[in-house]
Symmetry: C2
Subunit: 173 residues, 2 copies
DNA sequence: TGAATATAGTTAGGAAGCTAACTAATGATT
DNA sequence: AATCATTAGTTAGCTTCCTAACTATATTCA
């Protein structure tokens, strides 16, 4: 690989999809901004996503909690990761885990009283926080961003699913 | 916290900034789609970001490599994380680390010959891959997304900086 | 019914991110 | 010049995410 070759490649290099780079940059920055915010309540962003899902389940009258796998599906996070997060939430007493009566394999996860209290406490300020994060964009721009990200997200899910089914049917390679 | 109170809160709950949720969803999905792609070359997405930064440095004629701290700044990743990623890249022989002559504290990181080869190999297919990921959006939509994310990103950087300087000047609390 | 298959969850092991606390070297101040 | 402060990088220890491999329970179907 000669120096001249490298140079000419460099010269012909296109800006490499800036939208893609912007996405990656925003991902990192958003984490950095949100993590300290949740830390004030003694939880992390992923723990909040679990608490939120459990709260939503309660509102849908799923009184006995939801299965770990359901959590995994809703949060788009693999089961082993959910196991870990629920472990820590259980350790801090915000969540409880109990075997399902109808299926001995399944564990029903739900909020404890303390967990429910915390959800309400966070909720009280959460919307304002999210708004302050999105404050750089006008209302219609937020909608536009939402629209574009949803379309992109759907596409990514397709890519993901088709990759998975390929791996499943064809074996490896 | 009575049940009725919880219910009424639930009822009055606004959709909670959908743009924000879309961002989080897209973040996770993008990682899942890109990680296996880089895995085919035996590297991870963050390793690629380091290799890419080093390659760019070479093109700017920074021949002796760049300092670990420069990498940290460019990638928006804290120094300890860069240390780890560079460790692994060094172990696989894609990168080398050497003390700077002018500043004994600094380590100059740069591509090895093998590393440079890999960068060129990845480059050959990278643009197409990114395009296939963004294929859900038309060209002008990609530009629009880029524009919105950049504005959001700048805002997040401000939030971050001001939080940091607050912590610095006021001490804690 | 009994064997094969599928599903729920966990464990093991690894990468990446973070903060806090440390070492070593440089720079500034008196 | 000697001390004090700052900067570069690493280490320690934590969380989150992943895949692969495992255990235990359900389900299918022959």
């Amino acid at each position: 690989m000669s120096v001249t070759k490298a140079r000419s490649q460099a010269r012909s290099e296109k800006p490499v999809e800036p939208a893609y780079r912007a996405l990656i940059r925003t991902m990192g920055l958003l984490r950095r901004v949100m993590e300290p915010y949740f830390a004030k309540y003694g939880i992390s962003a992923s723990q909040w996503s679990v608490l939120r899902a459990l709260n939503r389940a309660e509102q849908e009258d799923r009184l006995k909690g939801i299965r770990l796998t359901d959590l995994s599906d809703r949060l788009l996070v693999r089961p082993p990761s959910v196991t870990g997060t629920v472990d820590r939430l259980e350790r801090t007493g915000l969540v409880s885990r109990a075997a399902s009566r109808t299926d001995q394999r399944a564990k029903m996860v739900r909020l404890t009283f303390t967990g429910r209290q915390l959800v309400h406490r966070v909720r009280a300020s959460h919307a304002a926080r999210v708004q302050s994060v999105l404050a750089a964009l006008r209302r219609d721009e937020q909608r536009q961003l939402h629209y574009l990200l949803d379309r992109l997200g759907d596409h990514l899910e397709e890519l993901n699913d088709s990759a998975n089914s390929r791996a499943h049917h064809n074996g490896h390679k």
